[in-house]
Symmetry: C2
Subunit: 301 residues, 2 copies
């Protein structure tokens, strides 16, 4: 990186399983991008600085401001950043300084958001929400952030009013790989959209029978030769359908944005469309970067 | 074992994770008992005979009839025994002979039961049901068999009319050990009955929010210091409560028997009692043995 592209600051999205970093210009454009598999989950507190330097070291010329979001700010992370309590701005006041030895590093971690009752927490999603709102001024509605722990967030007048987290992604992972369904559900890329939408409908109609429908996939494989691809799509539909039944008070009749551009987010958008609930799909990286940029500007403002 | 206690026949309950065997007298009393951790799941087809001989070898004097139930009769077991289709007698006609080399062994495996739609299967539970009905003539009602895959079975006039399997036990296992809840849910023996019953009520009222309530346990631990013992009891209550909501058409207003004497079965009995649905708790071994005995008697005509 030549002197003319020395970053003005560095944006970091540091989750449980990996870390992404962007070298940013003063005008807010991306000069360079890097990523690492050294997620929060694999690091002890005193290993974060070295992991960061491994990734962004080549970009550093002099003292540099770094703004980070995500699980890096959790109790098991680099430094524990507080949670702001709902209702609160998507980007709560205050950043938490992480302890560093290298004099070039000035690392600031964004606060998470908590909801006292029903108890709920987020870390990282608040930055995507803030970024989405920075890109879409005066947007009110419900934001869905699909993932390991999918979040439904009611946003109004720039504030997070309430939210609800579903363990759906993690349930999909453990049921498809760690239970009897591992014999039935195929790994791989094939997809059966009809089976997916049947799963959505079945679970929305009778969400209380979810654990029985899961076993029924195994029995369908044994008795009726259901293919692994069909079982996989229907498992996904059953779990997402049960979630849509639970989160209905969030999305029904609301303006909906789904932040995420991967396969999983596409499933949510199609499942919502089947409920006559059209959702706008939003690029996740763009939202994250816009949120980190908003935090940086406030820090420097 | 002396000649005077040579078994008339041998009863075997061979599941996925272990095997139990009983040396039986002609009058139906138990002469000796043995068990092994060589469950179906750990054996290739050609290893079953040796595993059986390891356990019951000392009891064998001459040719001996062995009647077995459970996953030993599955596709991955010693020999695939068929499934009878509902509605059918709890003990379907016909036993399947397992291939053996030792001339002393004559091994007969009990058929499972299948339900074409909604697709469902059982192997092993049919023997407990048949045994329970042998011990309780003319009993009609609903039998609950708690376990890894809990079954609700509608029984009338000695026949299995319909049944529904819930993956509740397996979901408890994977959520408490393989998801983010492993940080929150304590292993061990402590129990919080109030938290358990709160979980039952919460999930029965809103079963569609199950995946959100699961995450909320994690958040309660982080924000409000919920103890691991409380989280464990509430997780169990949430999963069993969602099942009770789904299985309500089975148990509501019915005579209920819960087959099982372990901790888990006690949870079901107390949860049902909280719904004003009293259930009779039945000794599982007694039911299994009575079912295997009924199969042996029919074999011997």
């Amino acid at each position: 990186m030549s002197a003319t592209t020395t970053p003005s600051w560095i944006a970091v999205d540091w989750g449980t399983t990996n870390m992404r970093a962007w070298a940013m210009s003063a005008s807010g454009s991306v000069l360079a991008e890097a990523c690492s598999d050294k997620g929060m989950g694999s690091l002890a507190r005193d290993q974060f600085e070295a992991a960061l330097l491994d990734t962004i070291g080549p970009w550093l010329v002099g003292p540099t401001t770094i703004v980070a979001c995500g699980m890096v700010g959790s109790r098991q992370g680099w430094v524990e950043a507080p949670y702001a309590a709902t209702p609160c701005p998507a980007l709560p006041e205050g950043l938490t300084r992480a302890p560093t030895q290298d004099p070039r590093l000035s690392v600031h971690v964004i606060a998470g958001i908590k909801q006292p009752a029903p108890a709920d927490v987020m870390r990282g999603e608040e930055t995507q929400i803030a970024g989405f709102l920075a890109l879409n001024k005066n947007w009110d509605g419900v934001i869905c952030l699909p993932g390991t722990h999918t979040k439904w967030v009611h946003v109004s007048a720039g504030e997070v009013i309430s939210f609800q987290t579903y363990m759906t992604g993690e349930l999909y992972h453990v049921t498809s790989t760690q239970t009897v369904l591992r014999h039935t559900v195929a790994a791989g890329d094939g997809w059966d959209e009809t089976a997916f939408l049947t799963g959505i409908e079945t679970a929305m109609a009778r969400p209380e029978r979810l654990a029985a429908r899961l076993f029924s996939l195994r029995a369908e494989g044994l008795l009726n030769g259901m293919t692994g691809q069909t079982a996989r799509a229907q498992l996904s539909g059953l779990l997402i359908g049960a979630e849509l039944a639970g989160a209905k008070p969030y999305w029904l009749g609301q303006q909906i944005a789904v932040i995420g551009d991967g396969t999983l987010s596409g499933h949510y958008v199609r499942a919502l469309a089947a409920q006559s609930a059209p959702a706008t799909q939003v690029n996740a990286n763009a939202a994250t970067l816009a949120g980190l940029t908003a935090a940086y500007r406030r820090l420097k403002g």
